[in-house]
Amino acid sequence: MVSTAVSLCGIHMDNPVMAASGTFGYGAEFADLYDINCLGSFSFKGTTLHPRFGNPTPRIAESASGMLNAVGLQNPGVEKVIEEELPRMRAFFSKPVMANVSGFALEEYVETCRLLDNQEQVGWLEVNISCPNVHGGGMSFGTRPQSAAEVTRAVKAVCKKPVIIKLSPNVSDIAAIARACEDAGADGLSLINTLVGMRLNLKTRKPILNNVTGGLSGPAILPVALAMVYRVYQAVRIPIVGMGGISCARDVVEMMLAGATAVQIGAANLVDPYICRDIIADLPVVMAQLGIHNLNDIIGGAHS
């Protein structure tokens, strides 16, 4: 018998597999397909203080082994999420959920986090300071240690629940930003968000995405994510949620060896809506094959 259970910032998870924000909505589309209580948890769609339409289409482009998105944080706003999405979610998901929060000003992060922190269903807050597809906010908070720390401190001051800061890979020194967040009181870090990329339409000779650039995700970025998780693990003591191109149970083990306590599955959900369920079912099999009895034993295993 193998054990897949882990603990993330003091909250028990049956397994380390979460669906990543922006690829799982508020869970309803997937709950129509399978019982999503098999998940360790999931991080719901990035939520902002005010409703957002996001960017005009085209919002999606493609690359070898990956995709670009420039959705631009479309969401109904925190009020509607609390009034409509969370009550609806209660009917099909009974575990603590991760609340993903974005903002365009410090006060927006603070207010949105404060409101969601009060919701019983919310287990963790995942503060996205790394969205590459919005202007005048999002990633700009996550590219300098000082502003990353500022957001962390402000959010921590109003939250009782664990605060996980979601980091951008589009920086020169991710370890420095990770340390700044830890010093500012972050309970955990999640990484990586998408990498800035672009595709062009050869007929129009213009960028495919209306936003010009988008965020690259999918298997193409797994090695980048592994290298960054590995590096951040050496720089901080707080737990890491590792993500970026994970597509199978072996990738989960690899990400945990690099230093992740839990993992998130993103783009793969969009290609195969059953992927999280299948990875969770496959995980004990892969563990047995690799001689792993308890997943906790392998977190950061590559460093010892």
Partner: protein, 242 residues
């Protein structure tokens, strides 16, 4: 929605760069004409959405244009090959609003979803008519199939078949009170501009997932923001903003 392996029964060219593929598999999630499938192709990460042309209890027909790597791969599939597909996506056409004499308008590979729609309208005792538009005679497909169901007017941009020009060149029959359209966006926009009758239009958009998770295909409508893959691809004329 169902996900599964479907088996190619046949795959053949029916016009210039236009192919018809017949597949066997679970069609239980198909409930309305105008719904689509999202299929995996070799060498691509994301699936390819294709509207369903026709289906029965165990088979479905797709018609697609070879425009790039993904559809090129698709055209190389042979009888017996498996295809991984999400089936029964989107909302489809509502035939309840059609009236007795609905007008169907299809442009190029926008025509396929109108085929099952035409069957259903005829089965319901209605008398539809069709205007089908192409660039040239080499692209014309399914003319005879449609003509078995209803009167058909063909238009081509170069005049090599039927009426020269766009589908909007053809004045609608005076007894038509409702229309159904699928085709390129400029065609749909033009139709909304020149037709005074109400109708339904099937839209096309770049999609990530095809089942409502990624928000990659959201458009603004008069009734709020809607996902083309989930609340669409078929929209009422009245709700679209051009």
């Amino acid at each position: 929605m169902t996900q599964g392996q479907y088996t190619v029964i046949s795959n053949r060219p029916i016009a210039a760069a236009t192919w018809e593929m017949l597949l066997a598999g679970d069609t239980s999630a198909l409930t309305r004409p105008g719904q689509f499938v999202n299929l995996r192709t070799g060498g691509h990460y994301l699936r390819r959405p294709l509207s369903v042309c026709a289906w029965d209890d165990s088979r479905l027909t797709l018609i697609y244009k070879v425009v790039g790597q993904g559809t090129d791969w698709l055209s190389e599939r042979q009888a017996g090959d498996p295809i991984d597909m999400l089936c029964g996506l989107g909302n489809g056409f509502d035939t309840g609003l059609s009236g007795q004499y609905p007008l169907l308008i299809g442009g190029g590979v926008g025509l396929p979803p109108l085929y099952q729609l035409a069957h259903q309208l005829v089965d319901e005792g209605k008398q539809p008519r069709l205007i089908m538009g192409f660039n040239s005679v080499q692209e014309v497909f399914y003319r005879e199939e449609f003509e078995r169901l209803m009167p058909v007017t063909v238009t081509t941009m170069d005049g090599s078949c039927g009426v020269r020009g766009l589908v909007t060149e053809v004045p609608p029959e005076t007894n038509c009170t409702y229309f159904y359209a699928c085709g390129p966006s400029p065609m749909l926009r033009a139709l909304c501009g020149c037709l005074t009758m109400p109708g339904q239009l099937s839209l096309e958009e770049r999609m990530g997932c095809g089942f409502g998770a990624c928000m990659g295909c959201t458009i603004r409508t008069r009734l709020g923001d809607k996902r083309v893959c989930k609340e669409g691809p078929v929209f009422l004329k009245e709700e679209l903003i051009w």
